[in-house]
């Protein structure tokens, strides 16, 4: 754990102006570390989707990011309403986003599927009424 570079972010709920700023900062840090472009891109997409989910569904949350020599670990934790049916939520195109969010062009139901697609290890824990914690790990050098 000693060699990990740790970053923490607070993601504000329902604030579309600041949405994506945490993933942006992680992205810039990875670029400075010399991580390959394709890995940076996968981190960018996976983390952006997770961040947006917290903004839309959970009233915000926290992002804990640890960068290791060969991979990155991203933990997105919120204390929102939780996910009723995780299997359903992970299906491409399934969305519970409200009308006003859909009108903004978000909520296409690709959030979780994209996070799974672009991460190497994915875990989701959710309890109704307590919140959701997503853990993603992305390797820097494979694929």
């Amino acid at each position: 754990m000693n060699d990990a570079l740790h970053l923490e972010f607070t993601v504000e709920g329902n604030n579309f102006l600041s949405a994506g700023s945490a993933s942006d900062e992680v992205k810039n840090t990875l670029k400075k570390l010399g991580i390959k472009a394709q890995a940076v891109r996968r981190v960018a997409i996976a983390m952006y989707e997770g961040e947006i989910n917290m903004v839309i569904h959970a009233g915000g949350g926290n992002a804990y990011v640890d960068m290791f020599a060969d991979h990155i670990k991203i933990v997105l934790a919120d204390t929102g309403k939780g996910i009723e049916d995780i299997q359903l939520a992970m299906q491409a195109g399934y969305s519970t986003a409200p009308e006003d969010i859909l009108a903004l062009g978000f909520g296409a139901g690709m959030g979780l599927p994209n996070m799974i697609k672009y991460s190497d290890r994915f875990d989701i824990q959710s309890t109704i009424g307590e919140g959701t914690t997503i853990t993603m790990e992305i390797d820097f050098d494979q694929r």
Binding site: D3, K27, T29, K31, K32, G34, R41, A44, I45, F140
Partner: protein, 420 residues
């Protein structure tokens, strides 16, 4: 003017006497390429993308774009001018492009080859390229604005494969003009090909040979300097010969959206102004614009008419060019006329990404450096005031870590701790 042409690869220059060290350019530089040292703005050239923002923003006019002096044309016997379409937007009450072109002949050019002709050919070549390469990762990003290409090469490495594999209009016409002259029997060493440029990014791209095997022009002049020479001559022209060979499609490349409109596709997006460009590139990187087929990006507001080597306001120039367009045919140049393979319009060499922000080649070392940077950053006031000479507290932390700056240069630290 001092130090004007002494740096061979520098993109912008400083008139030290005028620079007050005010941090305006440094704060707005899109690649954090400027530092204020000893009260003067200095450029980290390896980061500079030649966008010209600092030239545009400097309140004291201390930043100067680099281009060749007009006198350079006299080094050649047969002089060919390649005017950018934005040149036509600089003149008030102009109703015929031919007046500008005849004026160019009057000030010493033997031949004119309009860059907008190359734009027309590229529109057609790009349509063909997109139609035959349906599997390309989307969106495809235009490579016409060299500042945008450079920005991707330094800051958005993952988008390198999205760049349209096509030369810029000026590269095409430079090659064609030279070939035509040689075919006329003019000796190659007598031929001088000169681009009349609206921006320093084009100057930089042509000097370094972006996308081409070797530089295709012999000099790059500025629209503003050529304008000053044309202005007194144009009203006195005795005869206006029909020299112009451009249509609407080519001319519309002068302003934002013109290139994309020439592709005849629905799902395109055109953005201009460096901040919007960065926003769009960030969105593409985050996978937010995958439903768009083609993205045209111009670093300057309004497109090429917004380049800092122009005279006129970009929106005025755009309106004038629109008026000129109305009188023209749709197309005057087709690929069939020239009988070149599509590869003639494509990159000869692929531009390479530049590792200018990487802290170290060794990732473990880079991570140690990043940890130290984080530690330094936490002690800073996070005001991004620029008084230390770096554009942000984070950039300052990086400079302190690398030894480029000393922590004592932060003048607001004490203040910060007193009020905290």
């Amino acid at each position: 003017m001092k130090d004007m042409y002494d740096k061979s690869i520098s993109t912008v220059m400083l008139d030290s006497d005028k620079c007050r060290g005010c941090v305006t350019c440094m704060k707005r530089c899109p690649t954090e390429a400027i530092r204020v040292r000893n009260g003067k703005a200095t450029v980290l050239y390896e980061r500079c993308i030649a966008c010209g923002e600092c030239v545009r923003l400097c309140p004291h006019h201390a930043k100067l774009a680099r281009y060749d002096s007009f006198d350079i044309v006299n080094d050649f016997k047969y002089k060919i001018a390649l005017p950018a379409p934005s040149l036509y937007g600089q003149f008030n009450n102009l109703d015929d492009i031919n007046i500008v072109l005849n004026g160019l002949k009057e000030i010493g050019f033997d031949e004119i080859f309009e860059v907008a002709r190359g734009a027309e050919l590229l529109s057609q070549a790009t349509r063909k390229f997109i139609a035959t390469n349906k599997d390309l990762p989307k969106p495809i990003i235009s490579s016409a604005c060299p500042a945008v290409v450079e920005l991707i090469l330094v800051r958005f490495h993952s988008l390198e494969d999205r760049l349209l594999n096509m030369l810029a209009p000026v590269d095409i016409v430079a090659q064609m003009a030279r070939e035509e002259a040689i075919n006329k029997g003019i000796s190659p060493q007598d031929i001088g090909v000169f681009f009349i440029s609206p921006c320093p990014a084009k100057v930089f791209a042509l000097k370094t040979g972006l996308g081409v095997d070797k530089p295709v022009v012999d000099g790059v002049l500025s629209v503003s300097e050529v304008y000053m020479r044309l202005l007194p001559i144009m009203p006195k022209l005795k005869e206006i010969k029909p020299l112009s060979k451009v249509g609407k499609t080519g001319l519309q490349w002068a302003s934002s959206g013109g290139e994309a409109a020439g592709l005849y596709i629905d799902k395109y997006l055109a953005a201009d102004g460096i901040e919007n460009v960065i926003n769009m590139l960030t969105s593409i990187e985050d996978g937010k614009l995958n439903y768009i087929d083609f993205v045209e990006l111009n670093a300057c507001n309004g497109g090429c008419v917004g380049g800092v080597l122009n005279i006129e306001n970009p929106y005025v120039a755009k309106a004038r060019i629109r008026n000129l367009r109305n009188k023209l045919q749709f197309n005057c140049n087709t690929l069939e006329q020239y009988d070149k393979p599509n590869s003639y319009y494509e990159w000869q060499t692929k531009p390479q990404v530049k590792e200018v922000y990487r802290l170290d080649e060794d990732r473990a070392v880079a991570m140690k450096k990043m940890s130290r940077i984080e530690d330094i950053y936490k002690t800073l006031p996070n005001l991004d005031c620029g008084l230390c000479g770096a554009p942000s507290c984070r950039a300052f932390a990086e400079d302190v870590e690398s030894g480029m700056a000393d922590i004592s240069m932060c003048v607001r630290m004490d203040n910060y701790y007193k009020t905290k």
